[in-house]
Amino acid sequence: MKSRQRSHGTFEQTRAPLLFLAPNLIIFSLFIILPAIMGLRMSFFDWSILDGSKYIGFKNFRDILADSMFWLTLKNTLIYVVAVVPLLSISALALALPLAGEGKGMGVFRAIYYVPTMLSMIIVGIAWRWLLGYDLGIINYAIRLAGGKAVSWLTDGTMANISLIFVTVWTRVGYFMMMFIGGLQAIPKTYYEAAEMDGAGRFTRLRRITIPLLKPIILVVVVLSTIEAFKAYELIFVMTQGGPGTSTKFLVQYIYQAAFEEDRMGYGAAMSVILLVIIGIFTAIQFGARREEYTNE
């Protein structure tokens, strides 16, 4: 009879990796997992910060489905996500393509595009609010000086949404550009040389070599920007406070309003759970699409 041989690894192979992971695991559990579980529990309660809580089952979720403000803010959020994610991904790639090379001054340009990423969203929001104000804004002042008519950048619902999308892309494009640059620099130059010898033009090289080899990075950029766009709050609140009216009021602002201004923490938590599920579905679809491509390849 053959006895089963148990392999005992060394300390470095078995326990050391766990010890290295432990601090991050503890922090992640304490500040992400535990609050998430508490939030999930809270969503089944009529929960007030000051007046205590009462278990109400799925009532919060039923009320949310009948809440017109929830559907309005969800619609506004989806429009924002659908506009921001492709624009941000394409702009970041468009900037990364010329800046991925090793030419002179590339570092300076990369830094210029990356700087807005380092600014706080609050600062970005305040600055753009000053620029885009209807009566006192600098851009409208310049337009009036040139004899033109002031534009309702933030006082018209559609223009306010367009302005928010533009500012979001402006402030985040540098971050995703750097991710693309990393991906582009990892593609071996020999592929391009071989393609050039075969007579492939610039567009063909982009379509046949760059895009296919960048797919993992594109997936990361799309997933991260989708999650960011769903969670957008500070920039929007500082620039428009969700207005005019409810034109730029997104789901996260409504969650905040319900939880903290109306003291309906349970209701806010239930909306957060729904938002988590929506983001999860979008992310799963994106990963699923990528997996399908791998299988086909």
Binding site: L50, D51, G133, Y134, D135, G242, G243, Q257
Partner: protein
Amino acid sequence: MRKKKIASMMVLLLLAVALGSLWAQPKTTLTVLWFNDANESDVFMATMADYQQDHPNVTIDMQVIPFKDYENKLRLMIAGGNPPDVARLASAHVPLFANSLEPLSGKPVFDELAKGYFASSLALGQDDNGRVMVMPTEATANGMIVNKTYFKNAGIDVDKLSQTWTWDQWVDAMKKVLKANPKAKYGITVDFSTHRFSTFLYEAGGRFLSSDGKSMNFNTPETLDALKFFKMLHDEALAPKSVWMGSENPQELFQSGLVACHVGGSWLINAYSRNIKDFEWGVVRMPSRKINSSVPGGKFVGTFKNSPNKKEALDLIAVFSDKAHNEQYCRDTFNLSARKDANITYASRSKDFAVFTEDLNLTPAYTADDWKSDVVAKLNSYAREQIVEGLLGKQTMEQTAANIQAKGNSYFK
């Protein structure tokens, strides 16, 4: 022998230190949570300098939080069982935190102090049972500040006209003012807040809550009159869209000379005194509609049931609320006093403060009942959004009134 001497001296020294620490009064650090409209935290510390001299065992730890984060910070501190010893509160905060505040009624020193304060100011600091929960530090009122230079250029004596003017007369006057002053683009700007809008509501004879405070009374012809008048101001370009439909600061619009009148709070006197140098300005009586009204408001200080140093906190609040300290604080912060016996000579602008007080004296008492209700406090953002939806024409003002009424009533269930 020498060793023995040193040892006994050491023992004596240790004993002296131990006894000294027993006899010394324990040190207390009072946490004071504050938000600033202008320089109030500094003035508070200066006002309480004599208190600190008289109480060397008490240290004041002043924590200033931006107003937009204040309510949340305080909520979380209370929910976490760690409330501050003393907190500055706006009138809208009082109903929200009433259950956590330490009642001041029933404590002889505060019952005596309360006699010296205006009833309307005290009312804003009371809970549903009529108990005083917080002491008023200053009174505020909504009113109209005008660019007097613009009125002069149009040949209008605004001080005289405003003694009896109605909103219709204001509209007529404004057409002349805008014609005579090409730099002025708009007649009026109103702060982007439900509280400031409510000045129009009360003047039209409307109100938020029913007289028993148990349901909404917003969807009425009086409210509709106020809402439609407010929309007319925006539609006729008498008011800039960039404040209620954008995010521009009405204070900056008035200071820049783009707007002739500003409906704001009495605290603006302080800011405008510092910032406006190139035109003459002043406070005038609010034009009347159905009635004359302002909106009472104020700031308060209170302590909490779970505050760690409640005894010292109550002592500090009592001293801060006496006549001398209240007068000093209101004078140096450029605010109206909530004390009936206050006799304050401001460095300037005493006349403007008097106009705000006149408007406040005409204000019906039920306005305070509205603003001390937690329902109105919770309704704030929603009401503002709904009014803007009406201004944009996305819904009728009838729909706006109905929506606000329904939302408010949902909080009573």
